[in-house]
Symmetry: C2
Subunit: 196 residues, 2 copies
């Protein structure tokens, strides 16, 4: 398969790209890479697909959100979370549909905050919940046998800066998260949220 | 209790307001009512609370979203769903916090599309999923014992225009949905999604 991995310079994206590369042709894209993309800019997504061509799978390991106490979250913070984490990945799907082969797949990245709270996490929870329901719903309307799933990890072992914000939460190595992307890309499931 | 019901002219809002009114003082607000509010405009929310004063519970039965096939959903449709259904109710919580009494509550309205797909429902699913995760997360950071829940109904018996879009789905009478608002307002639960 030809697999496009967006956000391939991040911890999860790099682990997913490395694991998928054992069996597939992997094209790595990110802000500032040779294959460059800014998911908040649909023209940038179109340019990326024009340069990459048809792929069998799109893997997205992207999205940032503001973390602030609920009382300090401004309207603009929720809009920022929505524009980056949510619409970045939704745009990737809607723009990418015509560039994914029959029977191909999209795999998005969400996170545990869709279902568990932490202090300062309300905007992140909102964004992750939006994406997980979108994946569930979009899977039922995908054309040409194309599948769509989300990988939704808890805090990464490798993301030490975040450990204090997730006190006592289970931690997962990026290598285990990468296996969930392989399951989504090579498996038969659709509309699933792979939580780990 | 003094209870502010937003969207009190809708099927669910009217049923909730009627049932709550049996035991409480209910203030009904909506676009164009004597107590008027447009939740997409934070100044309008501030004006409403300035005129209404402190309440024990805020009940929101609002939000509209575009329904279109996935392939026809434009970026602006997702933004419209987010601005109206999601940020309308999030703004109500963030602006309303200082006007809700100690131990009071917010109850928002989401819907079955957060967890079940229908054709043309991807933007609605995204919006409802966003709100349900927000409620879960925000409940953990509410001050002064204030609670927050969501009521998440399937298609209403009374909403006949929607029945064809929900083939074979269970239907619920608005009177049953109203009972879930009473449970949220008078009960002790927080961070819950009452699905029915």
């Amino acid at each position: 398969m030809r697999i496009l991995v967006i956000g391939a310079t991040g911890i999860v994206g790099a682990a997913a790209a490395d694991l998928l590369e054992a069996d597939h042709e992997v094209i790595r894209a990110s802000r500032g890479s040779k294959v460059t993309v800014d998911l908040t800019d649909r023209a940038s997504i179109r340019d990326m697909f024009a340069s990459v061509g048809t792929v069998d799978a799109v893997v997205s390991c992207t999205g940032s959100v503001p973390f602030k106490p609920l009382a300090e979250l401004e309207e603009q913070d929720f809009h920022a979370a929505f524009a980056d984490k949510v619409m970045g990945q939704v745009n990737l799907v809607t723009e990418g549909l015509s560039h994914v082969a029959d029977g191909g797949s999209f795999t998005l990245t969400t996170g545990i905050l869709a279902r568990e709270p932490i202090a300062t996490g309300a905007a992140a929870s909102l964004a992750n919940g939006a994406l997980e329901s979108f994946v569930m719903a979009a899977s039922a309307e995908m054309p040409r046998g194309i599948r769509i799933n989300a990988v939704s990890p808890t805090v990464l072992v490798e993301a030490e800066n975040y450990h204090a914000s997730f006190p006592g939460f289970p931690q997962v190595p990026a290598a285990d998260v990468a296996r969930a992307f392989v399951r989504s890309v090579q498996g038969v499931e659709t509309g699933r949220v792979f939580a780990l």
